[in-house]
């Protein structure tokens, strides 16, 4: 049973310049009674979104539209500045560069255990999964090698294999599988299909139309932190492409 429900979710980043970061300036300014408020970027403005179990939702929109911030909020990594987030089910997210969450000095094997432990699994249960994860990732003997010797595609493969082996109810992917090769992508897609049959939720942010059409059944178009359109993948993509070819919302 997996659901995601966002109500009036607002996320703002403060653009902390060197002056704002500086404690001395803050103290001097507040003593003088003219504390300058830092520049604020509204990454998400009043987002209302309900995602039911079995949904495969694509997020589209230009760079800086708030797609990654929205994924981070669903993942519980960023608390919203205001509004409420309710997520039921186990959420796992493949976010932040290919190497995020991996220890570069440790072997792939050790990373399997460490990453699982960070996510709340026990070392024993992770050790029991190493062979399956190795098989699925297609890393073979390279699993013994330190991760710094992996290409970014191999690191993505390892992370995806670890995360999906933990049987999440909600899977969040930023830019799909990035630099993973075609053979792995095909296998990953099969695993995603299996995952979807058990009524999970997939949310995928991407600039690739083909990927979105292949993986998602519905889409949300984000622009400057707000939802512009929500509906079928084809419909939303049409509206999105139309907007910048005609210069509206561009």
């Amino acid at each position: 049973m997996a659901t995601i429900s966002l109500r009036k979710v607002h996320a703002e980043y403060q653009l902390l310049s060197v002056r704002d970061y500086n404690l001395k300036n803050r103290v001097v300014q507040s003593v003088r009674g003219r504390l300058k408020e830092p520049v604020v970027i509204d990454a998400l403005r009043s987002i209302d979104l309900d995602i039911r179990e079995g949904s495969r939702l694509g997020l589209v929109g230009p760079n800086g539209a708030g797609k990654s911030t929205l994924l981070s909020i669903m993942a519980g990594l960023l608390p919203p500045t205001s509004g409420s987030v309710r997520v039921e089910g186990r959420v796992l997210a493949l976010l932040g560069g290919s190497e995020a969450g991996l220890d570069q000095e440790a072997s792939g094997r050790d990373n399997v255990v460490s990453m699982g432990v960070q996510l709340g699994e026990s070392p024993t249960s992770m050790r029991a999964r190493i062979d399956d994860i190795t098989d699925f990732s297609g890393l073979g003997d390279r699993i013994q090698h330190p991760v710094y010797s992996y290409s970014s595609g191999m690191q993505t493969r390892l992370r995806f294999s670890i995360l999906t082996s933990l049987r999440p109810d909600v899977l969040l992917l930023d830019e799909g599988l990035g630099t993973a090769d075609a053979e792995f992508t095909a296998r990953a897609n099969r695993r995603l299909d299996e995952f979807m049959t058990s009524a999970g939720i997939l949310v995928l942010a991407s600039h690739g139309d083909a990927l979105l059409k292949e993986q998602c059944t519905e889409a949300v178009w984000l622009q400057s932190g707000a939802i512009v359109e929500q509906g079928s993948v084809d419909g939303v993509l049409r509206g999105y492409h139309h907007s910048y070819s005609t210069g509206i919302n561009g």
């Binding site: 500086n22 981070s72 990594l77 255990v113 709340g120």
Partner: protein, 266 residues
């Protein structure tokens, strides 16, 4: 307000509950630091031993101290100070250094602090071998007072957690604080009685030179039992004050900053 407090307490409670996780990750992280070396973490022990013996001989000659007393004094002081400064330096950077983990893997924020403190304690444990060697050599008296080292390390650990919880968010928000802490720590090594004794300073100057130094009290608590002394009354009072202040700051800062912290390091 109540919501923030509940969330912060919940974070620390969940962090503590997952002790197996962060202890495992701390052990792995120490292993990884030395993965490409033969001696591994024992390099630290060697490094500390070389430092202690070298400096004790040098400063012992300068201050005309008998070596059999001065070597264990410097060893206890240096090993204790290394732990204190390591906890402070890494506590300051704990959230900035772990930004990618914090932004890609959901876990209680306090877990990162517990993990950092465990790494420092593991390295400290390797250095304790030097103290054990001194006990075997008879340089450190084997007395029941040695048992006081256990609560001393516990008190230092509590302070380390508290420092991570208040200094960590402060550094994430005000990036000048990190380099400031690093530069102060270097000077603190000389202002803390590690290579010299407090009683060598004229009584009327002690307050100004030593009294304000929080490291001095925590260090005394750890080192005095190693030298066969009971920590003085002023040490206990100082330790209580420093620990109380750290805990208050931790509660105040962590409660107020927890929900903004991921934005500051992103």
């Amino acid at each position: 307000m109540a919501v923030r407090t509940t969330a912060a307490v919940g974070d620390v409670a969940e962090g503590l509950r997952r002790w197996r996780s962060w202890f495992y990750l701390a052990v792995e992280s120490v292993k990884n630091q030395y993965r490409r070396t033969v001696l591994g973490p024992w390099w630290l022990t060697l490094q500390t031993a070389a430092y202690v013996v070298g400096l004790a001989v040098l400063f012992g000659a300068i201050f005309r101290q008998p070596l059999d007393e001065f070597v264990p004094y410097v060893a206890g002081g240096f090993i204790g100070f290394t732990l204190l400064s390591g906890l402070t330096r890494n506590g300051a950077e704990v959230f900035v250094n772990n930004a990618t983990t914090l932004l890609s893997t959901r876990q209680p924020l306090s877990m990162l602090v517990f993990q950092m403190v465990s790494v420092e304690l593991l390295q400290f444990a390797h250095n304790l071998l030097i103290i054990m060697a001194f006990v075997a050599l008879g340089l450190v008296p084997l007395s029941p007072l040695l048992l006081l080292v256990v609560p001393a390390v516990l008190v230092i650990t509590i302070n380390g957690v508290a420092i991570g919880l208040w200094l960590g968010p402060t550094v994430a928000r005000f990036r000048d604080v990190g380099p400031f802490v690093a530069s102060i720590l270097q000077v603190m090594m000389f202002f803390t009685p590690v290579f010299w004794r407090v009683d060598e300073i004229a009584a009327d100057q002690r307050g100004a030179l030593v009294g304000w130094n929080p490291f001095g009290y925590l260090l005394g608590l750890f080192r005095d039992p190693l030298l066969g002394d009971l920590p003085s009354f002023s040490t206990w009072v100082g330790v209580a004050a420093v620990t109380g202040l750290n805990l208050l700051l931790a509660a105040w800062v962590f409660t107020r900053t927890r929900s903004r912290l991921p934005y500051w390091v992103s």
